[in-house]
Symmetry: C2
Subunit: 398 residues, 2 copies
């Protein structure tokens, strides 16, 4: 009677692991600036909250497995407004982007198969890989060049007979990198040449800065049967607790298979789907001020950190994360010390050690991920406290 292998090897969340130390700091009266997780502080749009308040059905009943038609149509229309040809029959509503990832892994790969993912990557891919018993084959990127994709040969070198798909997350969590059309096309050539699926995690689609726009994998007609896109309202509408995402594909056969996975779990939550529908009906204008807010924060964070002696940092182009290399030997030890042993005027900062975002052992040991999810004033203060902490840490440990 042993726990299954996958049950034993599934990774605990490296993002949540240090949370108890932050709780203890707070109990000691220390104010903690949380820039460790991607929980935005942007208020949830009023139409979403109104949808909860005005739910007036007598029975909170099951909806369709693929989600309500109106919401699927609204999501298709949202993509159409970005000139991506979709209709409701390309969209399945999922329980957050998380389930969309899980469905995608299962529909392209059997146990023991491999999916190539550039690392550092969103740590929950690890969880779903164990859950689905799929192997992630990491393609290591580097902070020095801002985590750009390597030449085609280097990507192809990761391909084995067991490889079924490549996954690209852009705008990227945790690096903030937005892949250029040239980078996307490099990967598209590879999936065509090696007959692979291509999974796009594009949940940060709206968050591209410096006047740039997001290029979706769904825009490439030549791979329309190969592409599965993972989508979510969590960050788009500051609604992480709604658990509404979507999996999108123009491959009809894939869609039917995804639908059967969806049928197994009956349906997504009913009221949240109505809330999401209200959100999409706000139109694209909603995003502009939100994007500007994150762009300002990005600038504040980048300017605040870039002159730290020994830091390796590149300006991120999207999402609301950055990975930086610090002049420390063990970032986890530093993060822990900041929570347990340090405060500056009764304040400290929590960031995430980056090691958990890498799959290759030993990688990212001197890096941290920072999420710019605080308002400008708080972020500025967090940077001051962070630098004080780092200076003091270095004076003790180096």
């Amino acid at each position: 009677m042993d726990i299954s292998n996958r049950g034993q090897k599934i990774q605990p969340s490296p993002i949540r692991k240090l949370k108890p130390y932050a709780d203890q700091a707070q109990e000691r009266g220390i104010h903690v600036y949380f820039i460790n997780i991607g929980q935005p502080d942007i208020p949830t749009p009023q139409p979403i909250l109104d949808a909860f308040h005005s739910f007036d059905e007598k029975v909170l009943s099951y909806g369709p497995a693929q989600g309500f038609l109106e919401l699927r149509q609204a999501i298709a229309d949202y993509f159409v407004s970005y000139n991506i040809p979709l209709d409701s029959e390309n969209v399945i509503i999922t329980l957050g982007g998380s389930e969309a990832i899980h469905f995608s892994f299962c529909v392209v790969a059997d146990p023991g198969n491999e999916i190539i993912i550039p690392e550092p990557f969103y740590t929950n891919y690890n969880g779903y890989a164990s859950y689905a018993d799929v192997k992630i084959s990491p393609l290591t990127l580097h902070v020095e060049d801002g985590f750009r994709l390597p030449p085609a040969e280097e990507i192809e070198a990761r391909i084995t007979p067991k490889t079924r798909a490549i996954l690209l997350c852009s705008p990227n969590n945790p690096t903030g990198t937005v892949y250029t059309p040239e980078e996307l096309e490099r990967v598209i050539s590879i999936v065509k040449k090696h007959d692979l699926f291509l999974i796009g995690d594009e949940v940060y689609k709206e968050f591209v800065y410096d006047g740039g726009t997001h290029k979706s994998l769904l825009e490439y007609e030549e791979v329309k049967d190969r592409v599965i896109v993972v989508d979510s309202i969590s960050k788009r509408f500051s609604s992480c607790g709604a658990r509404i995402g979507a999996v999108v594909t123009r491959n009809k056969e894939l869609y039917q298979s995804l639908l059967r996975f969806a049928q197994a779990r009956l349906c997504p939550p009913t009221v949240e789907q109505k809330a999401a529908l209200a959100a999409y009906r706000m139109g694209l204008d909603y995003f502009q001020p939100v994007k500007e807010e994150y762009e300002r924060r990005r600038d504040v964070l980048y300017e605040g950190l870039k002159d730290i002696p020994g830091i390796v940092i590149q300006k991120p182009q999207g999402a609301f994360y950055i990975i930086v290399r610090l002049p420390v030997k063990d970032a986890e030890h530093f993060v822990l010390w900041m929570l347990r042993d340090f405060h500056f005027e009764k304040e400290t900062v929590m960031v995430t050690p980056a090691q958990g975002f890498y799959c290759t052992p030993g990688k990212g040991k001197d890096e941290v991920r920072i999420a710019y999810v605080l308002k400008e004033q708080d972020l500025r203060r967090a940077i001051v406290v962070f630098k004080e902490g780092l200076n003091k840490y270095l004076s003790i440990f180096s």
Copy 2:
């Protein structure tokens, strides 16, 4: 670039497969009595609806992976009120009972491993078995004896070196059978002897009739480390669209593994957890009139069907389903005919062919599942229409 094996073999929902024909009947102006799916018509309790209406947070944010402490405590207290010793550290909130099943399969079994489940069984187990790449080993039960468990030797004959667990659903969907303590203890002896886990799907716990009570697998101290119980508010509080369930275990190591699966998908929906908390705070008195309502319906249905010539039927003891054998060769053909080719005074009835609830090919071909989820008056009328249909069908096809 083929869809994975599991993506190809995952079963489409047999319950939902015939839905388009019902839609077409409605479009022709036929009233359809839906007694095919377990969507209760009992109004969702007001405290649940009020929780949606009074949600007043500014940001709809992530909650803890294991669910809010208050809700976990409320669920533990609910079990304690049935004299089952639990605390909040034994409970993880899941996305419906569905996710609790999926977590349970993954934590006990690796790809290729087997779980023994008495058939006919809740059809979504098939979906999760494909999803998790686990094999269901069916233990065939029979309508003639009311789907009682067979002698120990017959159960043990299903055990192979790959067997990891036995799953018991009681009160049972789709049969309505409630296992006796003697039947539970028969299986408990077997899991101890063969060192297996024991999964209990007990989501219909409150729905036990004729003055009987439900015995939970959690009550057996001797297997407290082997037992995982799947729970849900869907039927308990007529809240299928909330997607709030729970997985419960007193095995600490199992709990930690389940928690890591939970972390992979971040958290259950935030507002529904508050709604579920409000529901549990209503107390056990809420269930009595609901149970009496279902018990009356069960009696109406059983009395209405039992004298049909050639029917094989036993009075179910719980849940709100029954499986009966009809004097037809192909129940799916009959169900389809009822929707496409029949009406009685502009009305027809939809039931579910039982074949999809069996794993063994050919089993259940002449059986249907009926869910008594309509109020008494409608159910009486549905029985009249059903009998008219069956008579006419038999006059044509036999």
